[in-house]
């Protein structure tokens, strides 16, 4: 066992533990914090996969995202409103069985998948490589994504804005 496998095992188990905790915890804030663990572990995995820029972006975005989600979770959840016991047990079981079937199928598929390792130079000036690809080859998707973000920004503001008369009523 070398260091890389060790690190992989640690990070992977942390990610899975975070996910499982998320499924089992009761409070929204707890759930979100357990997912922080998962997201950070995934960032670590990205570094292992020579994707340091993506890893940092992952940390940057998801630390902000989780913070916002926490705020929303706190604001939009009534005080004692913990995750109540699932009323719809049938659905839970059906979903569980479906996921298990899916998991098993995919598991079979993955174990049959034989990868050929190849030398890659992704870790050398990773950010520069991404920049080159992004601004040369994928410049149109990049611009489209920026448009999408703008639209989402405006849409979110419009949606979250309180209606005028409602505002008056509240005052």
């Amino acid at each position: 066992m070398n260091g890389e496998v060790l690190v992989f095992l640690i990070l992977a188990s942390l990610a899975v533990i975070g996910g499982l905790l998320m499924l089992n915890l009761k409070k929204v804030v707890h759930m979100l914090l357990s997912l922080v663990l998962t997201f950070l572990s995934i960032a670590g995995l990205f570094i292992m996969l020579s994707a340091e820029f993506v890893a940092v972006v992952q940390v940057l975005i998801y630390s902000g995202a989780v913070t916002i989600m926490m705020i929303f979770g706190i604001m939009l959840t009534r005080h004692q409103d913990e995750q109540r016991v699932q009323k719809n047990r049938v659905r839970t079981w059906v979903v569980l069985i479906g996921i298990l079937v899916f998991f098993y199928t995919m598991y079979e598929a993955i174990t049959r998948f034989v990868s050929v390792e190849q030398a890659s130079e992704l870790h050398i000036e990773n950010t520069k490589q991404i920049g080159m690809a992004l601004y040369a080859k994928y410049v149109i998707p990049f611009e489209l994504t920026s448009v999408l973000l703008l639209v989402a920004l405006i849409g979110a503001i419009v949606l979250a804005k309180r209606e005028e008369e409602e505002e008056v009523k509240q005052e």
């Binding site: 069985i97 479906g98 079937v101």
Partner: protein, 620 residues
């Protein structure tokens, strides 16, 4: 000159239409001026009609049309069509309409809804004039229905009275029965000839391309429309009831113009009828029988307007008889003279009714001494309709008789002769009872007739006397003129047997004499023959016949179907709808609005598919 003025013939119906729109739109503001506006605008259209007549005297057939609607290859035309026949009709209609407008000025003076009345009159006149100008059957049909609408509105003008309401409805529905035939014939005609243009139809008929069967069928269907509109047997019952309308309306619509529209229809499509012997026979027989039966019914009536109404039916039968005997000129000629004297009779009858405040002739009498002018003019009308020599009716009736004789329909000829006798009888019965009878004189102050009443009556008296000289056995210019535009038509001429004229004169004089004897000399009431009297009084029980043969079975059928509807159809409907509801109710549970459930179902389905795909050796 005619080139310049004839294209403006479309203005003729526009004037009364403007009157209609104006009076309807500003009916409260123009209440006081409604009669002036109506009369003036109708007068304008009379002037226009006369101008067109004068300028178009020598015209055979001139069309001015424009495309109204175009569907792919089919073009519907609107416009005007000038032929001698149209000119005659136009002038008659415009003239009588003006007379009636002026007459109504006084007659409807106390009416609260004067402007509405004049508006309807304007609508009717416009529609009738438009009908006379129609270059094709479609426009003709539209105007035909508009005329029906105007008639409906005017009959039911006093819609606060139940009888008027019922009469209006009856008139509308009875004529509609004929109109269905007309519409069917129209569609069939279009199917067969590919055009509704009269001129095109003539061309097709003269080329002889149509099958005889189709010609007969089409002409009979179209004749059904004419039967309805012109009150021929068996669809005549609406006309006597239509007398509930104001008397000027009766004069205009139910004597001179609208009922003549059916005759005009047959006349304008005369080449079509000429192409089928069967159709001609049907027309002639219907006309002859109607003439006689209506005359018989008229004998027993006690309502002055009903007598005139039955006499109208009878005279219309004459016209149909003439047309059915291939004598277009005679038919149209009788139409013209009849329009004059019948309008005259109705207008004078209106004065009489106004005077006695009743329509029952037995409550009248001595009118001659009190209403001298009216009596004189009524006498003119009576003489004209009775076929008294040298009056207009004499010549036109004589023309009809000779046409029938010439067509070798001897039975119909004898019926026509009999009708002449009967006409003279019942008309003079009316005259003697009303004007010479012994009813007590009215006590009210004697008012001189106003000019507005006198003028139209006087104006109508002149043609009632003199119009006959236009077409006499020794002067057939009118006949040639009226028929010349139809190439297929040849004026049968007046090669009458020598005894024709004397026998006709004899018949009419005999009728007059009998009436004089019965009602003036001996005063024998007709009630002596109770069954016959009742039979004729009720118009041969026509209404009752319809009631029991058509209305009752229909009622029964409708009641039955109501029950079927209620218990059979409803049950089926109810059960099927409740089944659908049930399905919907339980189906809707699938759509619970739970996004996660949808997602779960979708995902489970996907995982099953992936599983199957994987184990059957899909993509992996």
């Amino acid at each position: 000159m005619c080139d310049k003025l004839l294209p403006y013939a479309w203005l003729i119906p526009v004037f009364p239409f403007v009157s209609f729109i104006m009076l309807l739109a500003f009916r409260h503001r123009l209440q006081a001026y409604s009669s002036y506006i109506g009369s003036a605008l109708t007068g304008l259209s009379l002037v226009a009609a006369i101008v067109v007549w004068v300028t178009g005297w020598s015209v055979q057939s001139v069309q001015h049309t424009g495309v109204w609607l175009a569907f792919e290859s089919v073009e519907l035309q609107m416009g005007t069509w000038i032929t001698p026949l149209n000119l005659v009709m136009l002038n008659i209609v415009a003239f009588i309409s003006v007379c009636v407008h002026i007459y109504s000025h006084t007659y409807m003076k106390d009416e609260r809804r004067r402007s509405t009345y004049f508006a309807w009159l304007g609508l009717f006149t416009a529609a009738m004039l438009g009908l006379c100008l129609s270059p094709n059957l479609l426009q003709f049909y539209m105007c035909w229905e508009l005329v029906g609408l105007g008639s409906f509105l005017l009959i039911g003008f006093h819609f606060e009275e139940d009888k008027a309401k019922a009469a209006a409805k009856k008139a509308f529905i009875m004529t509609r029965i004929g109109d269905i035939g007309l519409l069917a014939g129209l569609i069939l005609l279009y199917w067969q000839t590919g055009s509704l243009q009269f001129t095109d139809i003539y061309t097709v008929i003269s080329s002889g391309e149509l099958e005889a069967f189709h010609v007969t069928l089409i002409s009979l269907l179209i004749f059904a429309g004419a039967v309805g509109k012109s009150g021929q047997l068996p669809l005549h019952t609406w006309l006597p009831d239509a007398m509930e309308g104001p008397t000027p309306v009766s004069a205009l619509i139910h004597a001179a113009t609208m009922v003549a529209a059916g005759v005009y229809l047959v006349a304008v499509l005369h080449p079509l009828f000429m192409a089928s012997d069967t159709a001609l026979t049907v027309v002639a027989v219907t006309g002859g029988v109607t003439a006689t039966v209506a005359a018989v019914i008229a004998i027993a009536q006690t309502d002055i307007k009903r007598i005139l109404a039955y006499s109208t039916i009878s005279q219309l039968g004459y016209m149909m008889l003439a047309l059915g005997s291939a004598a277009l000129a005679a038919g149209v000629f009788h139409l013209m003279t009849h329009a004059f004297f019948k309008a005259l009779l109705f207008l004078t009858a209106g004065v009489v009714i106004h005077h006695f405040k009743t329509r029952n002739i037995h409550q009248m009498g001595h009118a001659f001494s009190e209403l001298r002018f009216t009596g004189m003019t009524f006498l003119i009308g009576t003489l004209a309709i009775s076929g008294f020599p040298l009056f207009s009716g004499f010549f036109s009736k004589e023309a009809v008789l000779s046409a029938v004789w010439h067509d070798e329909r001897y039975l119909l000829f004898s019926l026509a002769l009999l009708t002449t006798f009967l006409t003279a009888f019942y008309m003079f019965r009316l005259f003697f009872i009303v004007f010479m009878g012994q009813g007590k004189p009215t006590s009210g102050p004697k008012k001189a007739l106003s000019m507005a009443l006198r003028l139209p009556i006087a104006a109508l008296s002149v043609p009632a006397i003199g119009a006959g000289f236009l077409y006499t056995p020794w002067f057939s210019a009118f006949g040639n003129w009226i028929t010349q535009w139809q190439t297929a038509q040849i004026d049968p001429g007046h090669e009458v047997p020598w005894w024709m004229m004397p026998s006709a004169i004899m018949c009419s004089l005999a009728g007059i004499m009998l009436a004089w004897v019965m009602y003036q000399k001996l005063r024998v009431p007709l009630r002596e023959l109770p069954y016959l009297h009742a039979f004729t009084l009720r118009g041969f029980y026509m209404d009752e016949l319809y009631h029991y043969t058509i209305k009752q079975p229909l009622q029964f059928m409708s009641t039955t179907t109501v029950y079927i509807e209620k218990f059979v159809v409803e049950t089926v409907m109810e059960s099927s709808s409740s089944f659908v509801k049930w399905v919907g109710k339980y189906g809707a549970r699938l759509q619970s609005g739970q996004v996660q459930t949808y997602g779960a179902v979708g995902f489970v389905g996907l995982s099953i598919l992936v599983f199957i795909l994987f184990w059957t050796g899909g993509y992996f």
